[in-house]
Amino acid sequence: MRIRNRPRASGDIPDASMSDIAFLLLIFFLVTTTFEVQKGISFKLPKKPDSETQEVVIDETNRLVMTIKQWGAHEYVALIDQAPPEGPLQRARAGEDVSLQDTSLHNGIRTLASQRVEAMSASLDRLLSNLQVAKGVPSGTYSSLETAISAENLVPMVRPGILRTIMGSRIPLEMDPIFGEIAFGDTLVLSDVRQGEIASVVRESELVVILKFFPDCDYEGMIFALDLLRLNGVSRTGVTIQERLGGDA
């Protein structure tokens, strides 16, 4: 007579599917993970006026003043109050508003900006100053940028700006013994082999654009205008409110 073996209860937990579960979870977290990266437009407010502050008057050849108002949802128009003489943009009269999306406005701003690229020495001085701040050393520690680069063992490089694509061959270029060929809107970067980027500076224009917003204009209009200006090579911007003429009822 054949005796059947009774099924025995085993004490093992089956773990063959463990790696499958782990893979599934891994894929889930791979897909859902977002590393928080905040991107935005940088802006510097002017220093607080005090007894030592000297009033800076911007030369009218470098000054463009525009009043921005809102026409509807996502629709903003500019009225040119002041513009450099004999430039592509001229002072407009009331009612001659132009949309912020108008390409002639973009081209005019870009032309004005590219005709006023700051001197190479000014860009290099700002870079040296940024480097000294980043390194936490007092200003004047290094006599020149060359000295700082060799002392800190830094690698100079040029990061091309968007204006190279927009302006093509019409972009103002300059040669520099440290960085080589530099175009308007490029970023000059000093990097450390171990720490990465240490200091940078954008080759910018001396054109100053002052934006006067109507008080009820949306904040979106300011970002729209700043975006337009940065894209066309203007980094020196002032923001204020258009003073109402007459009193409110």
């Binding site: 979870l25 991107k39 935005g40 437009i41 407010l45 607080k48 968007i162 008080p215 949306d218 975006d227």
Partner: protein, 153 residues
């Protein structure tokens, strides 16, 4: 005479440690995943080209401010501002930033580098320019306006 066996090359890839690697990766992603939104208000960001925007470096000490208008278009509607989990009127933001800046300096010996502004696109410019004025008064000058990349929605 004794013959030595030749070493055979096998075609198998050793996968014994695969599960360990997978578990390590799993733990990493479980630890870094964020489901919760950064304690801010639900704001609608304005849009800008990615070429003009830059990322904030990790080395910067930042404070994030959120501002939203509760009822857009209504003059009597209130502006809500938030730092961390605390709501406050917009007029108090600059003062609070100054207090935080002093605290960073006292406790960590670090200066507040950048104030990140997450502002709803419908906030009126009058309120924004007033905020800039009060921030200047408190000697807080560096700002980043957060925006969505153009074309994302």
């Amino acid at each position: 005479m004794k013959f030595k066996r030749r070493m055979k090359v096998t075609g198998n890839i050793f996968t014994g440690t695969m599960a360990d690697i997978v578990f390590l990766l799993l733990v990493f992603f479980m630890a870094t995943t964020l489901f919760k939104e950064d304690g801010g208000l639900r704001v609608r960001f304005p849009q800008a080209h990615h070429e003009v925007m830059n990322e904030l470096g990790k080395q910067y000490l930042t404070v994030t401010v959120w501002v939203k208008q509760v009822e857009p278009g209504n003059d009597s509607s209130e502006l809500v501002a938030r730092i961390g989990d605390y709501d406050m009127p917009l007029s108090q933001i600059a003062e609070q930033l100054s207090i935080l800046s002093d605290r960073f300096w006292r406790e960590q010996n670090k200066r507040l580098d950048v104030v990140v502004l997450n502002i709803d696109s419908r906030v009126p410019m009058q309120a924004m320019v007033d905020l800039f004025g009060s921030m200047r008064f408190e000697e807080i000058y560096s700002i980043q306006f957060n925006a969505e990349e153009l074309g994302l929605y």
